[in-house]
């Protein structure tokens, strides 16, 4: 009797032990192969952006515009990793204040420029201005918005561009420093008394960032400009001034594809299937020739964007039905934020 129950116990414990092992290997792979390289790329790109702005702060400088796009790409490629170092001191929002329903970014920038506020000249002081005046969306206004350009004060605007670029770089350096040191360590060594209590909680955080990233693309990046059929809202498209609306969706799809495949590393067939599913969405994105979603009033143009949105939603569903159970980290029935 005793032996029998012990054997039964051993059998029930065995799969758990194996699963724990898998979680750890998967977590380490995601941190080392997906997260850290992406934040390193981001830090390098923002360093180059800062340097380009210092070399030539003109909104017409091709080098600066190129560096802006490369830096923005690198941000979008980490923008799904919204936990830990990006959430400290509102860093992620200070890098990307969007959606900006009430137009805080142009208002804050206009306020700074009109009085030539000295905080705009000093990256240290700039940390304390409204976060709406910081980051890539502020820089986009400075580089691409005609109303901002029309405010004049060219020397001040030039310095402000340099300050925004330097602030972005300082922010990305701070995020990388934490990721490369204490936060990776925290995620790699979960314990009962720590923020992450187990390996599976870490995996759950990583999985959640994947589906939340896709949700943001579907609902905000695509959903906000789509509006309703009766009332499309193309002017709500993300980064439309620099015609990055579609590009941001594509960059984010590629980054989340990388994360999905890394998370599925223990099951090659699943990894291949998921890779193909992301490929389908990316192919649909390629068919859209309208980088800023300006054509949403045209039914044909709208349809293509709607189809892309649908495919991203299908991806989310597929991940929740396949990868989530594979990792053993599905969310409970009642664990959705805000309910």
């Amino acid at each position: 009797m005793m032996i029998r129950s012990l054997t039964a116990l051993a059998f029930t414990l065995l799969p758990l032990a194996v699963a724990a092992q898998d979680h750890q290997a998967t977590n380490h792979a995601v941190i080392d192969e997906h997260i850290l390289p992406a934040f390193e790329t981001f830090a390098n790109a923002t360093e180059a952006l800062k340097t380009a702005a210092q070399a030539d702060c003109s909104a017409r400088s091709p080098e600066l515009l190129q560096a802006y796009h490369t830096g923005f790409d690198a941000w979008i490629a980490v923008s799904h990793l919204r936990f830990g170092p990006t959430e400290v001191e509102d860093r992620a929002f200070a890098l990307a204040f969007w959606p900006d329903k009430k137009g805080f970014t142009p208002k804050s920038l206009t306020g700074l420029i009109k009085v030539q506020n000295p905080d705009g000249l000093d990256p240290q002081a700039f940390k304390h201005v409204s976060i709406a005046a910081r980051g890539f969306f502020a820089l986009e206004f400075m580089l691409y918005d005609e109303a901002i350009a029309a405010l004049g004060a060219e020397a001040y605007q030039c310095a402000l561009i340099q300050t925004i670029a330097a602030d972005i770089d300082a922010n990305s350096d701070a995020i990388l420093a934490e990721w490369a040191g204490p936060f990776s360590q925290l995620m790699k060594t979960p314990s009962e008394d720590a923020i992450y209590r187990s390996e599976s909680e870490v995996t759950q955080e990583l999985f959640k960032s994947l589906v939340t990233g896709l949700q943001f693309s579907a609902e905000a990046r695509l959903g906000r400009p789509l509006g309703t059929f009766e009332r499309p809202r193309p002017r709500r498209a993300e980064a439309r001034r620099s015609e990055r609306s579609l590009r941001n969706v594509v960059v984010s799809l590629k980054a989340t594809r990388d994360l999905a495949i890394t998370l599925a590393r223990e099951d090659e067939a699943l990894a291949v299937t998921l890779g193909a599913a992301f490929g389908d969405s990316l192919a649909l994105a390629e068919r859209i020739k309208d980088p800023a979603f300006a054509d949403l009033n045209d039914p044909q143009g709208r349809l293509k964007v709607e189809i892309l949105q649908q495919s991203v939603n299908l991806l989310r569903e597929q991940l929740n039905q396949t990868l989530g159970p594979h990792l053993g980290v599905g969310e409970g029935f009642n664990a959705l934020d805000g309910d």
Partner: protein, 363 residues
């Protein structure tokens, strides 16, 4: 489980008249929405012992319900952002009216009746301005929309009638959403949650905000005692490492008191409280975290004394005769008292977020 058919057959014998009261529907003590094994949705009435005394199909996933104070009638809200709510006759199981949110409004999932049951107040969003709105519906006119007023903040979620019968308390969660972008949160960096007290005509009488460092603590759910103590539960939208308090107590005109367990137990809530309930004598306040799979029960007067009971995907909670009754997304029902769970039952249902008390009914 009582099927609707047998339940209705039973009612035939009782005889259905215009005078029916909650007692005629087996006097449910609680209501809860749920998902059925065949992916359908229902609103169920439950007894103190956890027995299902009726269930009525819903077309989509429900969230909370408002219980009519006199008639066996409940208003079931869809999950946010919902554009309709259904008025259910809990005797016949029929939908007797439908509330459609007006153009440029949608429901946020909670509502409450006036003391006489004549008016229903619903939490709503005005997506274009981002302002929270309280919709007013006349239950005596087939739930006609008769007015609205500002909720005192953004993203109102739970709403309760204060025991004076003249004041509404609203959990303005602070999170702005827009139906075009689903449940995506649009204003986290600038959000400002509030507890707002309003007259029945919408005059703001008191606003309660937490200290600025807690501005990302979305106030979402409420429980009010007979003597006017308001317990509120929060969901943290900021950095996980900060681990702020998630439970507050407030009396009108006084300062907020925030309570939390010791760090290790507090961490188990995972920044998220799903439901909150004060005990009938208001000596205890209990909170659930479906993310952490845990119930915590605090002594109101000395919150350092508390108990912790684990239960996977627990969310619904309501004060009952023998302690706090809880429901879980995994189908469990149980009664929590003295740090223990008893009367565990499992149904083939996924209980939704809230177990709504119908405790104003005669016992």
């Amino acid at each position: 489980m009582t099927t609707r058919r047998s339940f209705l057959a039973g009612l035939g014998a009782v005889g259905v008249s215009a005078q029916v009261t909650w007692a005629d529907v087996g006097a449910p003590s609680f209501l809860s929405a749920a998902r059925t094994p065949d992916e359908g949705y229902v609103l169920a009435g439950l007894s103190q012992a956890g027995a299902i005394v009726f269930h009525i199909p819903l077309p989509t996933r429900g969230h909370a319900a408002a219980v009519h104070p006199i008639r066996p009638e409940a208003v079931a809200f869809a999950r946010r952002p919902g554009v309709y709510a259904l008025v259910l006759d809990c005797v016949t199981g029929k939908v007797t009216a439908q509330l459609d949110s007006p153009e440029n409004r949608h429901f946020y999932g909670h509502g409450t009746f006036s003391a006489d049951g004549a008016l229903l107040y619903t939490t709503e969003n005005d997506p274009e301005s981002g302002n929270g709105v309280i919709g007013v519906w006349d239950a005596t006119l087939g739930y006609k929309r008769v007015g609205e007023f500002l909720s005192g903040g953004v993203g109102p979620h739970d709403i309760k009638l204060m025991p004076d019968g003249e004041t509404l308390v609203v959990a303005n969660g602070g999170i702005e959403t827009h139906p075009d972008s689903g449940r995506t949160r649009l204003n986290i960096p600038t959000m400002q949650p509030r507890l707002s007290y309003l007259s029945l005509s919408g005059d703001l009488s008191e606003q309660v905000e937490l200290r600025p460092s807690l501005h990302k603590n979305s106030i979402r759910h409420l429980s009010v005692s007979d003597d006017g103590l308001v317990a509120f539960a929060m969901q943290w939208q900021g950095s996980k490492v900060l681990e702020p308090p998630l439970v507050g107590l407030h009396r009108r005109g006084a300062a907020v008191k925030l309570i939390q367990a010791r760090p290790r137990d507090h961490r188990a809530l995972r920044g998220y409280v799903g439901s909150i309930a004060l005990s009938a004598d208001a000596r205890e306040v209990a909170v659930t975290s479906p993310k952490g799979g845990v119930v915590q029960v605090f002594q109101v007067r000395s919150p350092s004394q508390y108990s912790v009971v684990p239960l996977q995907d627990v969310c619904g909670i309501s004060a009952g005769w023998a302690g706090f009754n809880v429901t879980s997304g995994a189908g469990s029902w149980g009664t929590i008292s003295n740090g223990q769970i008893s009367n565990r039952q499992n149904k083939m249902l996924n209980w939704d977020n809230h177990l709504i008390s119908a405790s104003h009914l005669p016992d």
